[in-house]
Protein backbone atom coordinates (compact mmCIF):
# COMPACT_ATOMS: atom_id res chain seq x y z
CA UNK A 1 0.00 0.00 0.00
CA UNK A 2 1.45 3.36 -0.94
CA UNK A 3 1.98 6.15 1.57
CA UNK A 4 -0.89 8.55 2.13
CA UNK A 5 -0.89 11.46 -0.26
CA UNK A 6 -3.00 14.60 -0.21
CA UNK A 7 -5.45 12.85 -2.56
CA UNK A 8 -6.06 9.91 -0.23
CA UNK A 9 -8.47 11.58 2.17
CA UNK A 10 -10.76 13.13 -0.45
CA UNK A 11 -10.74 9.82 -2.34
CA UNK A 12 -12.11 8.10 0.75
CA UNK A 13 -15.02 10.55 0.79
CA UNK A 14 -15.98 9.18 -2.64
CA UNK A 15 -16.93 5.93 -0.89
CA UNK A 16 -19.80 7.56 1.04
CA UNK A 17 -22.48 7.55 -1.66
CA UNK A 18 -21.88 4.00 -2.97
CA UNK A 19 -21.42 2.77 0.61
CA UNK A 20 -24.79 4.12 1.72
CA UNK A 21 -26.39 2.74 -1.46
CA UNK A 22 -25.04 -0.78 -0.95
CA UNK A 23 -25.99 -0.84 2.74
CA UNK A 24 -29.53 0.32 1.89
CA UNK A 25 -30.13 -1.87 -1.15
CA UNK A 26 -27.92 -4.86 -0.58
CA UNK A 27 -27.35 -5.42 3.15
CA UNK A 28 -30.63 -4.20 4.65
CA UNK A 29 -32.81 -6.25 2.24
CA UNK A 30 -31.22 -9.44 3.63
CA UNK A 31 -32.51 -8.49 7.08
CA UNK A 32 -36.00 -8.35 5.59
CA UNK A 33 -35.54 -11.78 4.03
CA UNK A 34 -34.46 -13.12 7.43
CA UNK A 35 -37.39 -11.49 9.21
CA UNK A 36 -40.00 -12.69 6.73
CA UNK A 37 -38.56 -16.21 6.71
CA UNK A 38 -39.60 -16.28 10.38
CA UNK A 39 -43.12 -15.02 9.67
CA UNK A 40 -46.37 -16.79 8.81
CA UNK A 41 -48.20 -16.81 5.51
CA UNK A 42 -51.40 -14.81 5.52
CA UNK A 43 -54.08 -13.91 3.03
CA UNK A 44 -53.42 -10.21 3.21
CA UNK A 45 -51.31 -7.47 1.73
CA UNK A 46 -48.42 -7.99 2.25
CA UNK A 47 -49.08 -11.76 2.42
CA UNK A 48 -47.42 -12.48 5.77
CA UNK A 49 -47.83 -11.81 9.49
CA UNK A 50 -46.63 -10.20 11.66
CA UNK A 51 -46.10 -6.95 9.82
CA UNK A 52 -43.67 -4.70 11.62
CA UNK A 53 -45.54 -1.50 12.45
CA UNK A 54 -42.91 0.85 13.80
CA UNK A 55 -45.38 3.67 14.36
CA UNK A 56 -47.43 1.60 16.80
CA UNK A 57 -44.72 1.81 19.38
CA UNK A 58 -42.48 -0.54 21.28
CA UNK A 59 -45.26 -2.82 22.56
CA UNK A 60 -46.39 -3.66 19.02
CA UNK A 61 -42.83 -4.42 17.95
CA UNK A 62 -42.40 -6.76 20.92
CA UNK A 63 -45.54 -8.71 20.08
CA UNK A 64 -44.42 -8.86 16.47
CA UNK A 65 -41.11 -10.38 17.49
CA UNK A 66 -42.85 -12.84 19.78
CA UNK A 67 -44.90 -14.03 16.81
CA UNK A 68 -41.82 -14.97 14.80
CA UNK A 69 -41.22 -18.68 14.52
CA UNK A 70 -39.00 -21.27 12.91
CA UNK A 71 -41.97 -23.07 11.31
CA UNK A 72 -40.81 -22.39 7.75
CA UNK A 73 -37.43 -23.92 8.41
CA UNK A 74 -39.10 -26.99 9.95
CA UNK A 75 -41.09 -27.25 6.74
CA UNK A 76 -37.91 -27.12 4.64
CA UNK A 77 -36.37 -30.03 6.50
CA UNK A 78 -39.50 -32.15 6.67
CA UNK A 79 -40.61 -31.83 3.04
CA UNK A 80 -38.58 -33.88 0.55
CA UNK A 81 -39.33 -31.36 -2.20
CA UNK A 82 -36.97 -28.81 -0.69
CA UNK A 83 -34.20 -31.21 0.33
CA UNK A 84 -34.21 -32.77 -3.14
CA UNK A 85 -34.14 -29.34 -4.78
CA UNK A 86 -31.10 -28.30 -2.78
CA UNK A 87 -29.33 -31.57 -3.55
CA UNK A 88 -30.15 -31.37 -7.24
CA UNK A 89 -28.86 -27.79 -7.41
CA UNK A 90 -25.56 -28.72 -5.79
CA UNK A 91 -25.15 -31.78 -8.03
CA UNK A 92 -25.99 -29.85 -11.21
CA UNK A 93 -23.67 -26.98 -10.23
CA UNK A 94 -20.79 -29.32 -9.39
CA UNK A 95 -21.34 -31.35 -12.58
CA UNK A 96 -21.54 -28.38 -14.90
CA UNK A 97 -18.59 -26.64 -13.24
CA UNK A 98 -16.51 -29.76 -13.93
CA UNK A 99 -17.61 -29.85 -17.57
CA UNK A 100 -16.91 -26.11 -17.86
CA UNK A 101 -13.39 -26.62 -16.54
CA UNK A 102 -12.72 -29.47 -18.97
CA UNK A 103 -13.97 -27.43 -21.93
CA UNK A 104 -12.78 -24.01 -20.79
CA UNK A 105 -9.22 -24.95 -19.93
CA UNK A 106 -8.12 -26.03 -23.43
CA UNK A 107 -9.74 -22.92 -24.92
CA UNK A 108 -8.07 -20.57 -22.43
CA UNK A 109 -4.79 -22.43 -22.94
CA UNK A 110 -5.07 -22.03 -26.70
CA UNK A 111 -5.81 -18.32 -26.27
CA UNK A 112 -2.77 -17.79 -24.08
CA UNK A 113 -0.59 -19.45 -26.75
CA UNK A 114 -1.78 -17.20 -29.57
CA UNK A 115 0.56 -14.52 -30.92
CA UNK A 116 0.21 -11.37 -28.81
CA UNK A 117 -1.83 -9.35 -31.31
CA UNK A 118 -4.35 -12.18 -31.75
CA UNK A 119 -4.89 -12.59 -28.03
CA UNK A 120 -6.85 -9.34 -27.80
CA UNK A 121 -9.12 -10.43 -30.65
CA UNK A 122 -9.71 -13.86 -29.13
CA UNK A 123 -10.50 -12.29 -25.77
CA UNK A 124 -12.99 -9.91 -27.40
CA UNK A 125 -14.61 -12.89 -29.17
CA UNK A 126 -15.06 -14.67 -25.85
CA UNK A 127 -16.45 -11.56 -24.15
CA UNK A 128 -19.02 -10.61 -26.80
CA UNK A 129 -21.42 -13.50 -26.03
CA UNK A 130 -21.23 -12.43 -22.38
CA UNK A 131 -22.58 -9.03 -23.42
CA UNK A 132 -25.28 -10.64 -25.56
CA UNK A 133 -28.52 -11.37 -23.78
CA UNK A 134 -28.57 -14.46 -21.63
CA UNK A 135 -32.24 -15.15 -22.32
CA UNK A 136 -31.72 -14.82 -26.07
CA UNK A 137 -28.87 -17.31 -26.04
CA UNK A 138 -31.03 -19.85 -24.22
CA UNK A 139 -33.86 -19.15 -26.63
CA UNK A 140 -31.46 -19.79 -29.53
CA UNK A 141 -30.89 -23.28 -28.16
CA UNK A 142 -34.63 -23.96 -27.89
CA UNK A 143 -34.81 -23.20 -31.62
CA UNK A 144 -32.12 -25.78 -32.31
CA UNK A 145 -33.17 -28.48 -29.83
CA UNK A 146 -36.92 -28.59 -30.31
CA UNK A 147 -38.68 -31.60 -31.80
CA UNK A 148 -38.51 -30.43 -35.44
CA UNK A 149 -35.51 -28.21 -34.77
CA UNK A 150 -32.28 -27.93 -36.68
CA UNK A 151 -30.40 -30.58 -34.71
CA UNK A 152 -32.99 -33.29 -35.35
CA UNK A 153 -33.21 -32.31 -39.02
CA UNK A 154 -29.46 -32.60 -39.44
CA UNK A 155 -29.34 -35.92 -37.61
CA UNK A 156 -32.23 -37.29 -39.69
CA UNK A 157 -30.69 -36.10 -42.94
CA UNK A 158 -27.39 -37.75 -42.04
CA UNK A 159 -29.26 -40.94 -41.07
CA UNK A 160 -27.69 -40.86 -37.62
CA UNK A 161 -31.14 -41.36 -36.14
CA UNK A 162 -34.33 -42.65 -37.75
CA UNK A 163 -36.85 -40.80 -35.58
CA UNK A 164 -36.51 -37.35 -33.99
CA UNK A 165 -34.78 -37.44 -30.61
CA UNK A 166 -36.32 -35.64 -27.64
CA UNK A 167 -33.71 -33.05 -26.64
CA UNK A 168 -35.79 -30.36 -24.97
CA UNK A 169 -36.97 -30.81 -21.40
CA UNK A 170 -34.11 -33.12 -20.56
CA UNK A 171 -31.19 -32.82 -18.20
CA UNK A 172 -28.73 -32.94 -21.11
CA UNK A 173 -30.36 -29.85 -22.63
CA UNK A 174 -30.07 -28.10 -19.27
CA UNK A 175 -26.38 -28.99 -18.88
CA UNK A 176 -25.76 -27.83 -22.44
CA UNK A 177 -27.50 -24.51 -21.72
CA UNK A 178 -25.58 -23.96 -18.49
CA UNK A 179 -22.20 -24.80 -20.05
CA UNK A 180 -23.00 -22.57 -23.02
CA UNK A 181 -24.03 -19.60 -20.85
CA UNK A 182 -21.24 -19.78 -18.30
CA UNK A 183 -18.33 -20.63 -20.61
CA UNK A 184 -16.99 -17.03 -20.80
CA UNK A 185 -17.01 -16.84 -16.97
CA UNK A 186 -14.76 -19.89 -16.88
CA UNK A 187 -12.45 -18.94 -19.76
CA UNK A 188 -11.64 -15.38 -18.69
CA UNK A 189 -10.11 -16.03 -15.23
CA UNK A 190 -8.26 -19.07 -16.63
CA UNK A 191 -6.89 -17.02 -19.49
CA UNK A 192 -5.88 -14.24 -17.08
CA UNK A 193 -3.61 -16.57 -15.07
CA UNK A 194 -2.36 -18.59 -18.06
CA UNK A 195 -1.36 -15.52 -20.08
CA UNK A 196 0.56 -14.03 -17.15
CA UNK A 197 2.60 -17.19 -16.69
CA UNK A 198 6.33 -16.92 -17.29
CA UNK A 199 7.09 -18.94 -20.44
CA UNK A 200 10.72 -19.28 -19.33
CA UNK A 201 9.52 -21.78 -16.72
CA UNK A 202 8.34 -24.13 -19.47
CA UNK A 203 11.58 -23.74 -21.35
CA UNK A 204 13.47 -24.51 -18.16
CA UNK A 205 11.35 -27.61 -17.62
CA UNK A 206 12.02 -28.70 -21.19
CA UNK A 207 15.78 -28.04 -20.82
CA UNK A 208 15.77 -30.18 -17.72
CA UNK A 209 14.34 -33.03 -19.76
CA UNK A 210 10.62 -32.80 -19.06
CA UNK A 211 8.34 -33.82 -21.91
CA UNK A 212 5.66 -31.23 -22.86
CA UNK A 213 3.08 -33.39 -21.11
CA UNK A 214 5.13 -33.58 -17.95
CA UNK A 215 5.79 -29.86 -18.07
CA UNK A 216 2.04 -29.25 -18.32
CA UNK A 217 1.14 -31.41 -15.34
CA UNK A 218 4.00 -30.29 -13.13
CA UNK A 219 4.39 -26.61 -14.08
CA UNK A 220 1.44 -25.13 -15.99
CA UNK A 221 -1.41 -26.78 -14.11
CA UNK A 222 -0.19 -26.05 -10.56
CA UNK A 223 0.57 -22.45 -11.50
CA UNK A 224 -2.90 -21.96 -12.95
CA UNK A 225 -4.68 -23.13 -9.78
CA UNK A 226 -5.74 -19.58 -8.76
CA UNK A 227 -7.44 -19.18 -12.15
CA UNK A 228 -9.11 -22.57 -11.79
CA UNK A 229 -10.39 -21.57 -8.34
CA UNK A 230 -11.70 -18.20 -9.51
CA UNK A 231 -13.37 -19.64 -12.61
CA UNK A 232 -14.93 -22.54 -10.71
CA UNK A 233 -16.42 -20.26 -8.02
CA UNK A 234 -17.56 -17.67 -10.56
CA UNK A 235 -19.58 -20.47 -12.21
CA UNK A 236 -20.53 -22.71 -9.28
CA UNK A 237 -22.14 -20.06 -7.03
CA UNK A 238 -24.61 -18.56 -9.52
CA UNK A 239 -25.40 -21.95 -11.10
CA UNK A 240 -26.62 -23.27 -7.73
CA UNK A 241 -29.29 -20.55 -7.74
CA UNK A 242 -29.95 -20.68 -11.49
CA UNK A 243 -33.57 -20.28 -12.53
CA UNK A 244 -33.96 -19.44 -16.24
CA UNK A 245 -31.93 -22.28 -17.76
CA UNK A 246 -33.51 -25.21 -15.87
CA UNK A 247 -36.92 -23.62 -16.26
CA UNK A 248 -36.68 -23.37 -20.05
CA UNK A 249 -34.52 -26.38 -20.93
CA UNK A 250 -34.98 -29.06 -18.23
CA UNK A 251 -38.03 -31.21 -17.63
CA UNK A 252 -40.45 -30.37 -14.87
CA UNK A 253 -40.10 -33.56 -12.82
CA UNK A 254 -37.11 -32.38 -10.80
CA UNK A 255 -36.59 -28.79 -9.74
CA UNK A 256 -33.52 -26.80 -8.89
CA UNK A 257 -33.74 -24.63 -5.80
CA UNK A 258 -33.99 -21.40 -7.79
CA UNK A 259 -37.12 -22.79 -9.45
CA UNK A 260 -38.57 -23.89 -6.11
CA UNK A 261 -38.04 -20.39 -4.70
CA UNK A 262 -39.62 -18.84 -7.79
CA UNK A 263 -42.66 -21.18 -7.58
CA UNK A 264 -43.18 -20.52 -3.87
CA UNK A 265 -43.07 -16.82 -4.52
CA UNK A 266 -44.91 -16.33 -7.80
CA UNK A 267 -47.26 -19.34 -7.94
CA UNK A 268 -47.98 -20.21 -4.32
CA UNK A 269 -47.61 -16.62 -3.10
CA UNK A 270 -45.93 -18.06 -0.01
CA UNK A 271 -43.44 -15.30 0.73
CA UNK A 272 -42.28 -16.64 4.10
CA UNK A 273 -41.45 -20.06 2.60
CA UNK A 274 -39.63 -18.41 -0.33
CA UNK A 275 -37.63 -16.33 2.15
CA UNK A 276 -36.71 -19.39 4.20
CA UNK A 277 -35.54 -21.11 0.99
CA UNK A 278 -33.38 -18.04 0.24
CA UNK A 279 -31.89 -17.97 3.75
CA UNK A 280 -30.84 -21.62 3.60
CA UNK A 281 -29.49 -21.17 0.07
CA UNK A 282 -27.42 -18.24 1.25
CA UNK A 283 -26.05 -20.29 4.16
CA UNK A 284 -25.10 -23.10 1.75
CA UNK A 285 -23.28 -20.61 -0.46
CA UNK A 286 -21.59 -18.73 2.39
CA UNK A 287 -18.37 -20.76 2.33
CA UNK A 288 -17.86 -20.51 -1.47
CA UNK A 289 -18.83 -16.80 -1.33
CA UNK A 290 -16.22 -16.03 1.32
CA UNK A 291 -13.62 -18.02 -0.59
CA UNK A 292 -14.45 -16.10 -3.76
CA UNK A 293 -14.20 -12.80 -1.85
CA UNK A 294 -10.71 -13.73 -0.62
CA UNK A 295 -9.54 -14.70 -4.11
CA UNK A 296 -10.94 -11.49 -5.58
CA UNK A 297 -9.23 -9.38 -2.92
CA UNK A 298 -5.88 -11.10 -3.46
CA UNK A 299 -6.22 -10.65 -7.21
CA UNK A 300 -6.85 -6.91 -6.91
CA UNK A 301 -4.06 -6.39 -4.39
CA UNK A 302 -1.59 -7.97 -6.77
CA UNK A 303 -2.43 -5.61 -9.64
Amino acid sequence: MSAESNFTRPARLAAIAPYVWMVLFFLVPFLFVLKISLSQTAIARPPYTPVLALHEGWGAIKTAFAALSLDNFRLLVSDDLYVLSYLRSLVVAAGSTTILLLIGYPIAYGMARLPQRWQGVAMMLVIIPFWTSFLIRIYAWINILQHDGLLNRVLLALHVVSTPVVWLSTDSAMYLGIVYSYLPFMILPLYATLSKMDQALLEAASDLGASPREAFWRVTLPLSLPGIGAGALLCFIPIVGEFVIPDLLAGSNALMIGQTLWLEFFNNKDWPAASAVAVVLLLLLLAPLLLYDRLQRRQLERT
Binding site: A14, A17, M22, S133, I136, L289
Partner: protein, 271 residues
Protein backbone atom coordinates in the same frame (compact mmCIF):
# COMPACT_ATOMS: atom_id res chain seq x y z
CA UNK B 1 9.34 -31.16 -35.69
CA UNK B 2 10.28 -27.86 -34.11
CA UNK B 3 7.38 -27.77 -31.74
CA UNK B 4 8.84 -26.11 -28.66
CA UNK B 5 6.89 -25.64 -25.44
CA UNK B 6 5.70 -22.17 -26.51
CA UNK B 7 4.35 -23.10 -29.92
CA UNK B 8 0.71 -23.17 -30.81
CA UNK B 9 -0.11 -26.83 -31.37
CA UNK B 10 -2.80 -28.26 -33.61
CA UNK B 11 -4.69 -29.22 -30.44
CA UNK B 12 -4.69 -25.57 -29.27
CA UNK B 13 -6.07 -24.35 -32.58
CA UNK B 14 -8.78 -27.02 -32.66
CA UNK B 15 -9.87 -26.25 -29.08
CA UNK B 16 -10.02 -22.54 -29.83
CA UNK B 17 -11.94 -22.89 -33.09
CA UNK B 18 -14.42 -25.41 -31.70
CA UNK B 19 -14.95 -23.26 -28.60
CA UNK B 20 -15.70 -20.14 -30.59
CA UNK B 21 -17.97 -22.01 -33.00
CA UNK B 22 -19.89 -23.37 -30.02
CA UNK B 23 -20.31 -19.85 -28.65
CA UNK B 24 -21.44 -18.24 -31.90
CA UNK B 25 -23.32 -20.83 -33.96
CA UNK B 26 -26.63 -20.74 -32.05
CA UNK B 27 -26.82 -16.94 -32.29
CA UNK B 28 -26.04 -17.01 -36.02
CA UNK B 29 -28.75 -19.61 -36.60
CA UNK B 30 -31.23 -17.50 -34.63
CA UNK B 31 -30.45 -14.45 -36.74
CA UNK B 32 -30.82 -16.36 -40.02
CA UNK B 33 -34.17 -17.81 -38.96
CA UNK B 34 -35.50 -14.37 -38.02
CA UNK B 35 -35.56 -13.62 -41.77
CA UNK B 36 -37.49 -16.81 -42.53
CA UNK B 37 -40.76 -16.23 -44.39
CA UNK B 38 -42.33 -19.46 -43.16
CA UNK B 39 -44.66 -19.52 -40.17
CA UNK B 40 -43.11 -22.82 -39.12
CA UNK B 41 -39.98 -21.92 -37.28
CA UNK B 42 -37.97 -24.77 -38.72
CA UNK B 43 -39.05 -24.87 -42.34
CA UNK B 44 -37.19 -22.48 -44.60
CA UNK B 45 -39.62 -20.45 -46.70
CA UNK B 46 -37.36 -17.86 -48.25
CA UNK B 47 -36.09 -14.51 -47.00
CA UNK B 48 -38.58 -12.07 -45.53
CA UNK B 49 -38.89 -9.16 -43.12
CA UNK B 50 -42.40 -10.23 -42.17
CA UNK B 51 -41.59 -10.97 -38.51
CA UNK B 52 -39.97 -7.59 -38.04
CA UNK B 53 -43.15 -5.94 -39.27
CA UNK B 54 -45.06 -8.13 -36.83
CA UNK B 55 -42.93 -6.84 -33.97
CA UNK B 56 -43.50 -3.21 -34.90
CA UNK B 57 -47.26 -3.82 -34.75
CA UNK B 58 -47.10 -5.53 -31.36
CA UNK B 59 -47.83 -2.64 -29.01
CA UNK B 60 -47.26 -4.62 -25.79
CA UNK B 61 -43.86 -5.71 -27.03
CA UNK B 62 -42.94 -2.16 -28.10
CA UNK B 63 -43.97 -0.82 -24.68
CA UNK B 64 -41.82 -3.44 -22.99
CA UNK B 65 -38.86 -2.59 -25.20
CA UNK B 66 -39.26 1.12 -24.44
CA UNK B 67 -39.47 0.38 -20.72
CA UNK B 68 -36.28 -1.70 -20.94
CA UNK B 69 -34.38 1.02 -22.78
CA UNK B 70 -35.43 3.65 -20.23
CA UNK B 71 -34.57 1.42 -17.26
CA UNK B 72 -31.26 0.51 -18.90
CA UNK B 73 -30.19 4.10 -19.58
CA UNK B 74 -31.24 5.39 -16.14
CA UNK B 75 -29.78 2.55 -14.10
CA UNK B 76 -26.56 2.51 -16.16
CA UNK B 77 -26.08 6.22 -15.49
CA UNK B 78 -26.62 5.82 -11.74
CA UNK B 79 -24.42 2.72 -11.66
CA UNK B 80 -21.66 4.54 -13.55
CA UNK B 81 -21.63 7.45 -11.09
CA UNK B 82 -21.68 5.21 -8.00
CA UNK B 83 -19.33 2.62 -9.51
CA UNK B 84 -16.77 5.25 -10.50
CA UNK B 85 -16.91 6.82 -7.03
CA UNK B 86 -16.37 3.44 -5.41
CA UNK B 87 -13.48 2.68 -7.79
CA UNK B 88 -11.80 5.97 -6.84
CA UNK B 89 -12.26 5.23 -3.14
CA UNK B 90 -10.92 1.68 -3.42
CA UNK B 91 -8.00 2.49 -5.68
CA UNK B 92 -6.92 5.85 -4.21
CA UNK B 93 -8.34 5.80 -0.67
CA UNK B 94 -5.79 3.30 0.73
CA UNK B 95 -7.06 1.49 3.82
CA UNK B 96 -10.12 3.02 5.43
CA UNK B 97 -12.52 1.88 8.08
CA UNK B 98 -15.12 -0.51 6.69
CA UNK B 99 -13.15 -1.09 3.48
CA UNK B 100 -13.49 -4.87 3.73
CA UNK B 101 -17.25 -4.70 4.20
CA UNK B 102 -17.47 -2.16 1.37
CA UNK B 103 -15.60 -4.20 -1.21
CA UNK B 104 -17.38 -7.37 -0.03
CA UNK B 105 -20.79 -5.77 -0.60
CA UNK B 106 -19.63 -4.35 -3.91
CA UNK B 107 -18.43 -7.65 -5.39
CA UNK B 108 -21.07 -9.96 -3.95
CA UNK B 109 -23.74 -9.15 -6.59
CA UNK B 110 -21.31 -10.44 -9.25
CA UNK B 111 -21.93 -14.01 -8.11
CA UNK B 112 -25.01 -13.79 -5.87
CA UNK B 113 -27.83 -15.92 -7.34
CA UNK B 114 -30.30 -13.54 -8.93
CA UNK B 115 -33.31 -15.10 -7.21
CA UNK B 116 -31.87 -14.04 -3.83
CA UNK B 117 -31.05 -10.47 -4.90
CA UNK B 118 -34.47 -10.11 -6.53
CA UNK B 119 -36.43 -11.49 -3.59
CA UNK B 120 -34.55 -9.44 -0.99
CA UNK B 121 -35.02 -6.17 -2.89
CA UNK B 122 -38.70 -6.88 -3.40
CA UNK B 123 -39.21 -7.51 0.32
CA UNK B 124 -37.49 -4.19 1.04
CA UNK B 125 -39.72 -2.34 -1.43
CA UNK B 126 -42.83 -3.91 0.07
CA UNK B 127 -41.70 -3.10 3.61
CA UNK B 128 -41.17 0.58 2.82
CA UNK B 129 -44.35 0.58 0.75
CA UNK B 130 -42.66 1.78 -2.45
CA UNK B 131 -44.83 1.66 -5.54
CA UNK B 132 -43.35 -1.02 -7.78
CA UNK B 133 -42.56 -0.15 -11.38
CA UNK B 134 -39.93 1.84 -13.25
CA UNK B 135 -37.99 3.20 -10.25
CA UNK B 136 -37.85 -0.02 -8.26
CA UNK B 137 -36.35 -1.84 -11.26
CA UNK B 138 -33.89 1.04 -11.75
CA UNK B 139 -32.73 0.77 -8.13
CA UNK B 140 -32.39 -3.02 -8.43
CA UNK B 141 -30.39 -2.83 -11.66
CA UNK B 142 -28.15 -0.07 -10.30
CA UNK B 143 -27.30 -2.28 -7.32
CA UNK B 144 -26.58 -5.20 -9.64
CA UNK B 145 -24.45 -3.41 -12.24
CA UNK B 146 -22.48 -0.98 -10.05
CA UNK B 147 -19.84 -3.59 -9.25
CA UNK B 148 -19.14 -4.23 -12.94
CA UNK B 149 -18.49 -0.51 -13.50
CA UNK B 150 -16.31 -0.41 -10.41
CA UNK B 151 -14.15 -3.35 -11.58
CA UNK B 152 -13.66 -1.84 -15.07
CA UNK B 153 -12.79 1.64 -13.74
CA UNK B 154 -10.51 0.27 -11.01
CA UNK B 155 -8.52 -1.66 -13.60
CA UNK B 156 -8.00 1.60 -15.49
CA UNK B 157 -7.15 3.64 -12.39
CA UNK B 158 -4.47 1.09 -11.57
CA UNK B 159 -2.64 1.90 -14.81
CA UNK B 160 -2.64 5.68 -14.26
CA UNK B 161 0.25 7.47 -12.61
CA UNK B 162 -1.16 8.83 -9.38
CA UNK B 163 1.49 11.52 -9.15
CA UNK B 164 -0.51 13.38 -11.81
CA UNK B 165 -3.46 14.18 -9.56
CA UNK B 166 -1.09 14.83 -6.68
CA UNK B 167 0.89 17.39 -8.62
CA UNK B 168 -2.36 19.03 -9.68
CA UNK B 169 -3.16 19.43 -6.00
CA UNK B 170 0.37 20.64 -5.22
CA UNK B 171 -0.22 23.31 -7.84
CA UNK B 172 -3.23 24.52 -5.92
CA UNK B 173 -6.18 22.55 -7.33
CA UNK B 174 -8.78 21.38 -4.85
CA UNK B 175 -9.26 17.59 -4.77
CA UNK B 176 -12.49 17.81 -6.73
CA UNK B 177 -10.92 19.94 -9.45
CA UNK B 178 -7.86 17.71 -9.57
CA UNK B 179 -10.15 14.74 -10.16
CA UNK B 180 -12.31 16.41 -12.80
CA UNK B 181 -9.44 18.08 -14.65
CA UNK B 182 -6.80 15.35 -14.46
CA UNK B 183 -8.11 11.92 -13.46
CA UNK B 184 -11.53 11.90 -15.10
CA UNK B 185 -10.32 12.58 -18.66
CA UNK B 186 -7.82 9.75 -18.29
CA UNK B 187 -10.34 7.21 -17.05
CA UNK B 188 -13.19 8.40 -19.29
CA UNK B 189 -12.92 5.50 -21.79
CA UNK B 190 -13.33 2.97 -19.01
CA UNK B 191 -16.17 4.99 -17.48
CA UNK B 192 -17.97 4.90 -20.84
CA UNK B 193 -17.23 1.19 -21.26
CA UNK B 194 -18.63 0.67 -17.74
CA UNK B 195 -21.81 2.51 -18.70
CA UNK B 196 -22.29 0.35 -21.78
CA UNK B 197 -21.69 -2.84 -19.84
CA UNK B 198 -24.20 -1.75 -17.18
CA UNK B 199 -26.71 -0.87 -19.92
CA UNK B 200 -26.47 -4.24 -21.66
CA UNK B 201 -26.65 -6.12 -18.34
CA UNK B 202 -29.81 -4.22 -17.42
CA UNK B 203 -31.28 -4.90 -20.86
CA UNK B 204 -30.60 -8.59 -20.29
CA UNK B 205 -31.95 -9.15 -16.79
CA UNK B 206 -35.08 -11.24 -16.36
CA UNK B 207 -35.06 -12.58 -12.81
CA UNK B 208 -34.42 -9.43 -10.78
CA UNK B 209 -36.79 -7.37 -12.93
CA UNK B 210 -39.53 -10.00 -12.49
CA UNK B 211 -39.32 -9.65 -8.72
CA UNK B 212 -39.06 -5.89 -8.52
CA UNK B 213 -41.43 -4.64 -11.21
CA UNK B 214 -45.09 -3.96 -10.72
CA UNK B 215 -48.18 -4.76 -12.77
CA UNK B 216 -48.30 -3.08 -16.15
CA UNK B 217 -44.60 -2.33 -16.38
CA UNK B 218 -43.05 -5.44 -17.88
CA UNK B 219 -39.55 -5.17 -19.33
CA UNK B 220 -38.59 -6.73 -22.65
CA UNK B 221 -37.02 -9.89 -21.15
CA UNK B 222 -40.17 -10.43 -19.06
CA UNK B 223 -42.32 -10.25 -22.21
CA UNK B 224 -39.96 -12.45 -24.19
CA UNK B 225 -39.85 -14.99 -21.37
CA UNK B 226 -43.62 -15.28 -21.15
CA UNK B 227 -43.83 -15.75 -24.93
CA UNK B 228 -41.02 -18.32 -24.99
CA UNK B 229 -42.73 -20.38 -22.31
CA UNK B 230 -45.65 -20.77 -24.70
CA UNK B 231 -43.38 -22.02 -27.45
CA UNK B 232 -41.09 -20.75 -30.18
CA UNK B 233 -42.55 -17.95 -32.30
CA UNK B 234 -40.83 -16.47 -35.35
CA UNK B 235 -41.58 -12.98 -34.06
CA UNK B 236 -39.38 -13.66 -31.04
CA UNK B 237 -36.50 -14.49 -33.42
CA UNK B 238 -36.90 -11.04 -34.95
CA UNK B 239 -36.99 -9.27 -31.57
CA UNK B 240 -33.96 -11.21 -30.38
CA UNK B 241 -32.08 -10.27 -33.56
CA UNK B 242 -32.91 -6.60 -32.97
CA UNK B 243 -31.59 -6.84 -29.40
CA UNK B 244 -28.42 -8.58 -30.58
CA UNK B 245 -27.97 -5.84 -33.21
CA UNK B 246 -28.37 -3.14 -30.56
CA UNK B 247 -25.84 -4.83 -28.29
CA UNK B 248 -23.43 -5.29 -31.20
CA UNK B 249 -23.72 -1.56 -31.85
CA UNK B 250 -22.90 -0.83 -28.21
CA UNK B 251 -19.88 -3.17 -28.37
CA UNK B 252 -18.58 -1.52 -31.54
CA UNK B 253 -18.98 1.89 -29.87
CA UNK B 254 -17.16 0.60 -26.78
CA UNK B 255 -14.27 -0.79 -28.77
CA UNK B 256 -14.00 2.44 -30.80
CA UNK B 257 -13.80 4.38 -27.55
CA UNK B 258 -11.05 2.11 -26.27
CA UNK B 259 -9.24 2.33 -29.64
CA UNK B 260 -9.15 6.10 -29.30
CA UNK B 261 -7.84 5.80 -25.78
CA UNK B 262 -5.39 3.13 -26.93
CA UNK B 263 -3.77 5.77 -29.08
CA UNK B 264 -3.28 7.84 -25.94
CA UNK B 265 -2.03 5.09 -23.71
CA UNK B 266 -2.45 1.54 -22.55
CA UNK B 267 -6.07 0.57 -21.94
CA UNK B 268 -7.44 -1.42 -19.07
CA UNK B 269 -9.12 -4.80 -19.22
CA UNK B 270 -11.65 -4.74 -22.07
CA UNK B 271 -14.45 -6.20 -20.00
Amino acid sequence: MASGPNQLSRFNVTALTAGLAFLYLPIVILIIYSFNASRLVTVWGGWSLHWYAEFFHDQAMIDAAWMSLRVGATSATLATILGTLSAVALSRGAGFRGRTLFSGMLYAPLVMPEVITGLSLLLLFVAIDAERGFWTVVVAHTTLTMCFVSVVVQARLGTIDRSLEESAMDLGCGPFRAFVAVTLPLILPSVLAGWMLAFTLSLDDLVIASFTTGPGSATLPIRIYSEVRLGVKPEINAICTLVVALIALVIVAASLVSKISDARGKTAAPL
